[in-house]
C-alpha cells in the first residue's frame, strides 16, 4: 500500500517524535538537572505508561476505571518478586529488569482478565465502582501477603508470616511492610524504551481491526453487535492490554525504589492517573504523556509554596477543568490550537 499519511498517522508520528526528542534532550541536559528532578525521571516514565494504558480503557474503550493502580500494584509486586528471585540466575541487570517487566505485565494481564470477566458485564458508573472495589481488594491482599523463597521454591501465606522458610531462605514480600532491599535497576533509558513500546502497542492496536472494533463498541454498542462484533471479546482485549501495560509500569516504578508497599498503589494513585488522562484528553495519547509528565513535576516545582502546594494543585485542577469545559473559552482556544497542531504534525 502507498504510504499515505492521514491525520491519525501524522499525529502518532508526532507523538513518537515528541517522546524521542524529550528523551534526547533530557539525556543531553542530564548534568544540569537538579537531583530531585533526576530522581523523578523513572517515575515520570512509569506514570506516562500508566496514563497511556488507562487512556486505552477510558478514551478508546470508553469505560471509566477507578482501580488502575491495582494493576500497577500487581505488576510491581510480581515483577519485583521475579527480579529478586532471579537475582542469581540472571546477573545482568537490564535483562533482569526486562524479565521483571514481562512478568509484571503478564501477571497484571492475568489479573485484568480475571477482573474483566465480572467487570465488563457491567456498564457506566457501576463498572467504575467495581474497578474501585477491585483496586481496594488488590491493595488489601498485598498488604497481607507474605512470600518467601528458599531451596524448596516459593512459599506463600496470608495474614501473617507462616512461610517457615528453610535455612538460607529469604522473605520477599512482608505483608504491610511490602518488599524491602530492592536493587534499583530501573533506568531512564529503560523507562523511555517502555514508553515507546507502550505507544507502539497502543497506536498499532488502535489502528487495526481490533481498535476499530473497540472504538465502535464505545461509540454505539448496539450497532456494534448488529454488525457482528463480539463485544465482550474486544472489550476484554482492550482491558487486558491496558492492565498488562499498567503492570509493566508498576514493575518499572517499583524497581526505582529500595522498598515498595501496597499502600502506594491506592485509590488516590488510580485517581491521579485518571486526572492525567482527563486533562490530556480522552483518546489523546500525546496529551496523556504531557499531562503525566507535567503533573508529576508540578508538585516538585511548587515546593516553594511548601505547605500550600497540594492546595495549589487542587485549585489548578479545578480551574483547568472549569476553563477547558467552558464553551466560550473552548472555541477561543480551538482557533489557535488546531492550526498549531497541524503545523507541528507537518
Amino acid at each position: 500500500m502507498k504510504l499515505k499519511l492521514n491525520k491519525t498517522t501524522r499525529k502518532n508520528f508526532a507523538t513518537y517524535g515528541v517522546v524521542i526528542l524529550a528523551y534526547v534532550l533530557l539525556q543531553v541536559m542530564k548534568g544540569s538537572l537538579s537531583s530531585s528532578l533526576k530522581g523523578m525521571l523513572v517515575p515520570i516514565c512509569a506514570y506516562v505508561v500508566m496514563a497511556i494504558s488507562l487512556n486505552l480503557t477510558v478514551g478508546i474503550l470508553g469505560e471509566l476505571s477507578l482501580g488502575h493502580a491495582g494493576f500497577m500494584s500487581v505488576g510491581a509486586f510480581t515483577g519485583v518478586t521475579a527480579a529478586i528471585a532471579l537475582q542469581n540466575v540472571i546477573p545482568a541487570a537490564p535483562l533482569r529488569l526486562a524479565v521483571g517487566l514481562a512478568v509484571g505485565a503478564a501477571f497484571a494481564g492475568i489479573a485484568g482478565f480475571l477482573i474483566g470477566i465480572p467487570v465488563l458485564r457491567l456498564n457506566g458508573d457501576y463498572l467504575a465502582i467495581v474497578t474501585l472495589a477491585f483496586g481496594e481488594i488488590i491493595k488489601s491482599i498485598f498488604n497481607n501477603l507474605y512470600v518467601g523463597i528458599d531451596k524448596n521454591g516459593m512459599q506463600f501465606s496470608l495474614l501473617s508470616d507462616k512461610t517457615n522458610l528453610a535455612e538460607g531462605g529469604k522473605l520477599i514480600i512482608e505483608g504491610p511492610m511490602g518488599i524491602g532491599g530492592i536493587q534499583k535497576i530501573s533506568t531512564f533509558t529503560a523507562g523511555f524504551i517502555l514508553v515507546m513500546i507502550t505507544l507502539i502497542i497502543v497506536f498499532n492496536l488502535v489502528n487495526s481491526r481490533a481498535g476499530r472494533a473497540i472504538m465502535a463498541i464505545r461509540d454505539n454498542h448496539i450497532a456494534a453487535e448488529s454488525i457482528g462484533l463480539h463485544v465482550t471479546h474486544y472489550k476484554m482485549m482492550a482491558f487486558v492490554t491496558s492492565a498488562a501495560l499498567a503492570g509493566a509500569a508498576g514493575t518499572l516504578f517499583a524497581m526505582n525504589y529500595s522498598t515498595i508497599m501496597a499502600n502506594k498503589f491506592d485509590f488516590n494513585t488510580s485517581i491521579l492517573v485518571l486526572v492525567f488522562v482527563v486533562l490530556g484528553g480522552q483518546g489523546n495519547m500525546l496529551g496523556s504523556i504531557v499531562a503525566a509528565a507535567a503533573l508529576t513535576v508540578l508538585p516538585e516545582m511548587l515546593r516553594t509554596f511548601a505547605d500550600y502546594r497540594m492546595l495549589v494543585y487542587a485549585i489548578v485542577l479545578i480551574l483547568v477543568m472549569l476553563t477547558t469545559n467552558n464553551a466560550t473559552l473552548r472555541s477561543w482556544f480551538s482557533r489557535f490550537s488546531l492550526k498549531n497542531r497541524e503545523k507541528e504534525a507537518a
Binding site: 500500500m1 492521514n6 491525520k7 507502539i200 502497542i201 498499532n204 492496536l205 489502528n207 487495526s208 481491526r209 481490533a210 481498535g211 476499530r212 472494533a213 472504538m215 465502535a216 464505545r218 461509540d219 454505539n220 448496539i222 450497532a223 456494534a224 453487535e225 448488529s226 454488525i227 457482528g228 462484533l229 463480539h230 463485544v231 482485549m237
Partner: protein, 281 residues
Amino acid sequence: MATRQKTKLVPIPSKSLVPERDVDKRPILECINLGISFGGLKAVEGFDLTIGRTEIAGLIGPNGAGKTTVFNLLTKVYQPTMGTVLLDGMDTHDMTTAQVNRNGIARTFQNIRLFQNLTVEENVKVAMDAHMKYNMWSGIFRMPGYWKEEKIAHERALELLSIFHMEDLANAQAGSLPYGAQRRLEIVRALATNPSLLLLDEPAAGMNPSETAELMENIRKIRDTFQIAILLIEHDMNLVMNICEGIAVLNFGRIIAKGTPDDIQANPAVIEAYLGKKKEA
C-alpha cells in the same frame, strides 16, 4: 419518478407468498407465529412472514404498531417470547445479535446509530470484521496479514461507498455528516457485513422527494447487484408501493394484511387502520 415494477407473488408450500422467481429456492426468512410480550403487554404476536431470496418486502403500519419491535426480534436485540425465526432454514433461537448478523441479517436503525467518532471509511471497515482473519498480534506488529487484509478492506469500503457516491467522504468523521448521508452510510455499513437479508428501518425518513427517489433506485440497485433480500419499514407510501414486491401491514402488533402493493392498497382493513373506520351514513 421511478417506474413501478410489478411482481407476481406465488404461494410456496407453507402457503406464504414469495416472488415467482424465488419460488424454487428456500426462503431467506421465515417467521412462524413470532411474538413478544413485555410484562403482560403483547407488543407483537402471531407474526408470520416469509421473504424470498431476492425479494424487496415492506413492513408498514401506523406508529406504535410494533414494526421496529419486529426488527429487534429478528436481530435478537429482543429475545422472542413466542414463535420461531428461520434464517435461511436455521433457527435463530439461540443466537445472539452478533451471531444473527454473521449468519446473514444486517440492519439499519430508525434513530441513526453510527460510530460517530470514527471516519466514514472506518465505519464501513469495522463492519467487515467478521470477514477479517489477522489477529491482535499481527495488528500490533504490522505483520503481512495486516497489510494484505487492510488493503482489501480499504478497497472494498470505497467500492461500497461508491454505491451512494460517498467515496469522497471516506475520511470525514461520521458524526459530522449531514442527516441524509448518515442514513446512507448506515446502509453501506450494513452491506459491508455481507448480508443475505438487509433490514432498513425508515431509510427515507427526513429525506426530500429527490433524495427519496434516488434512494429507491439505490435500494433496487443493491438488491440487483448483491442478489439479497431487503425488508424495509417505511412511512413514505410512494416508496413502499413503488419498490416493494410483498407488503405486510402491522397494526397493534398483529399482521392485518399481506400481499402485493395492489392488494394492500385495496384492502379495507388497511384503509381502516390508517384512516379510521368509515362513518356509517
